[in-house]
């Protein structure tokens, strides 16, 4: 045997797959041109997509940012050699009115002797994320931040509406008082009596003592922000405020309602079922009209019950009823064994709910909950029917300016973009949360 053996001492590096199978080409072959029928569809679709894009970009890409009126935009289009009603986008309206679309009539320092207060809603908005961080991303931020979350519900109204700092402080003290009374009585007598007396004490504080307390303290330590009336709220600030309040309150109320609906106590159950079915049986617009017109007639003349507060209440009630049903769906999906397991561990009702039932039920309901949130946020535009200036109603007011009369696409496009950012953000977060909480039951 001559020395002819050849033994490869090292492995050949694997060859790249053929160019037609990977990368852009491969992807296109697999997904777009996998057969003659799909190829035709792809070509036809591409044709239309490109046609629409060309039209859209041609319409949107025009140097009209600094125009001050629609006729001025028209002059610019003429210089570009275009004509017709939709020759191009007149972005001047956004350039001039975007602060109004964001802040409505919030004091902007234009009138003499007034300050530009728009930093307050901006700060409240930024702090909202700080306050939400421990709830949304509990594993990535220091746990101590949760105290700020507890403070935020009192800080936000103060920032937005202004007034003396003692109003939110005294409102918060009501909760403290109620809790202290509950704790004291729950140990000496029974839990139920403690709960009832605690709630009553808090209400007595809020209704009768709180205003005296805050005005007394305000006269001693006058720490106050310039107050802003609800009527001056508008634009996205109004939408976000209504949305945040309704979302923030509807989750806890919805949980309570869902538990109440499953309760064995007849009165509690009847009340919850009646409430949920009634609210779900009427459209939100009806509730808003009730808030805006009927309540006015029922209340004594001269009563000034803030219109935005009425809207908050109605939207929150509406969202809560839907939330309750979403969470009930989560509760119903839990196997009976979970409840029995909790019982067998000797947990009482609230312990079982807190430690075993709710974490699972809420996790199951995440997509439904977030859908409800998104729906509520978009429903805030309905307040335009009662004359509040949400972004959509503002477009109407902006068009009433003779300079901008007749502009539709620019304004609606801008609003749609902002709404999309918020709703898409919420939707992506819910997907992230689902992945994070995935514990492999399936």
């Amino acid at each position: 045997m001559s020395d002819i053996s050849f033994v490869r001492t090292e492995m050949l590096p694997p060859k790249d797959p053929p160019a037609s199978e990977v990368g852009v080409v491969g992807w296109a072959r697999a997904n777009l041109f996998s057969g003659w029928f799909n190829s035709i569809l792809t070509v036809v679709s591409l044709y239309f997509v490109i046609k629409i894009l060309i039209g859209l970009i041609g319409w949107a890409w025009v140097p009209t940012w600094s125009a001050t009126s629609l006729p001025e935009c028209r002059v610019i289009f003429e210089e570009l050699g275009r004509s017709g009603h939709n020759a191009g986008a007149c972005w001047g309206v956004i350039a001039e009115r975007w602060p109004q679309l964001l802040f409505g009539f919030y004091p902007n320092g234009y009138e003499e002797g007034t300050a530009d207060l728009r930093w307050r809603p901006v700060l409240a908005f930024v702090l909202l994320f700080v306050a939400l961080a421990p709830v949304l991303f509990s594993d990535k931020v220091p746990a101590k931040l949760i105290y700020f979350t507890a403070v935020y519900p009192f800080l936000m109204p103060w920032l937005l509406w202004g007034g003396t700092v003692w109003t939110p402080v005294s409102a918060a003290l009501g909760f403290v008082l109620g809790y202290v009374v509950y704790k004291a009585l729950a140990q000496s007598t029974s839990e139920l009596i403690g709960l009832i007396v605690g709630v009553v004490a808090a209400f007595v504080w809020w209704l009768f003592v709180a205003s005296l307390f805050s005005s007394a303290l305000a006269s001693v330590v006058p720490l106050a922000l310039e107050s802003v009336e609800s009527r001056q709220f508008g634009g996205f600030m109004l939408s976000i405020t209504i949305g945040v309040v309704a979302i923030g309150l509807s989750l806890p109320i919805g949980i309570v309602l869902a538990l109440g609906r499953q309760s064995d106590l007849l009165i509690v159950k009847t009340l919850c079922v009646g409430f949920i079915e009634f609210i779900r049986g009427v459209p939100l617009i009806t509730l808003l009209f009730v808030a805006s017109t009927l309540l006015n007639i029922f209340m004594p003349p001269g009563t000034n019950f803030d219109i935005i507060m009425r809207v908050f209440i109605m939207v929150t009630l509406f969202a809560s009823a839907y939330m309750a049903e979403v969470i009930r769906g989560g509760l119903a999906a839990l196997p009976k064994g979970q409840y029995e397991g909790a019982d067998s561990l000797g947990l009482n009702y609230w312990q079982a709910q807190r430690l075993i039932i709710m974490p699972q039920a809420l996790k199951i309901s995440i997509p439904g909950i977030v859908s409800t949130f998104i729906g509520v946020f978009k429903d805030t535009t309905l307040v335009s029917v009662i004359g509040l200036f949400d972004p959509l109603n503002l477009t109407n007011a902006i068009r009433a300016d003779a300079d901008w009369n007749g502009l539709v696409w620019e304004l609606y496009g801008f609003i749609a973009l902002l709404f999309f950012v918020f709703c898409f953000g919420m939707s992506r977060y819910s997907m992230y949360l689902e992945r994070k909480l995935q514990t492999g039951h399936r």
Binding site: P71, H85, A87, E96, Q100, G104, F105, Y110, E111, P153, F154, M156, P157, W161, T167, P168, S170, A171, A172, G174, W206, L207, A210, S211, R231, V245, G248, S292, T293, N296, I297, M299, P300, P301, G302, T303, N304, F305, D306, M309, F312, I313, S384, V385, I386, G387, L388, F389, N393, N396, A397, I398, R399, A400, D401, A402, D403, N405, G406, V408
Partner: protein, 338 residues
Amino acid sequence: MNNSVFFGALTVAGLAAGAAAAGTLDDVKARDKLNCGVSTGLVGFSAPNANGEWEGFDIAVCRAVAAAVLGDPSKVEYVPTTGKTRFTALASGEVDVLARNTTWTFSRDVDLKFEFIGVNYYDGQGFMIPKELGVSSAKELDGATVCIQTGTTTELNLADFFRANNISYEPVPIETNAEARQQYLAGACDVYTTDASGLAATRATFDDPSNHVILPEIISKEPLGPLVRHGDNEWGDVVRWTLNALVAAEELGITSANMSEKAAGTDNPEINRLLGSEGNLGEMLGLDADWAQKALAAGGNYGEIFAKTIGEDTPVGLARGLNAQWTDGGLLYAPPFR
């Protein structure tokens, strides 16, 4: 999340309920602010500018009343109302006066228990068509498709007009003026009908206004005026005579430019009575002697307000027409200040 404000509001509501309602004039003076119900946006009549200040023909009424009563035209809280909420807002006391291009009709005056204190704009329903249609009279519109806002009196007027002339039409229901504009320009309807002032304002926004004509027929009477609640005649008088003062001032030749000169006293006793250098008309209303001066200083007389907000030099470009002084062949006729 908003408990503090909520309960605060409840408390305020409870406290406020205790205070019995005095006369509206006293309420406004005590509040030092006039609550004025306005439209959420109507070209030329009421619209917020980029800084959030309200401007327009209806706004001028609010400003004049505030100036007459409180001495400062900026002491107005504008309460935007929709067509659906406006009457409840007035009836419930949320606003003191409603200046929202509202047509004075029998049922609104009598049945809804409001008091129209006059007419600040005589409007009427008209038709707009593209010129290329070659129609010169509304009676030739047989078989036309018509863009029409639903749930308004214009819808009923249109049906009446076509029935009376024994011609047919096909309605294209729309909700807002902006929608109507888009539909009309897209050719979804041959004709757009609404108040003539609205047609003019819409046409002014077209790329080629000259290709569209407003037909000569006006098929309805739409006297637009400010209104107040029934039963508070003192307040009604204040608003009525403030509007009359604006109209009379134009007739008497008092403008914001020459007012201070005329206020010193003139040979015309009516001017003197109006401006307060003679007589005690202001006192009778429960206002200062120079109430009309202040009202006029807010935005000038009727003619000046008209020219500034909706007149021929503005984009809306309305001619005076019926809204000229009676001496010029119009309908404006202020009762004497005596």
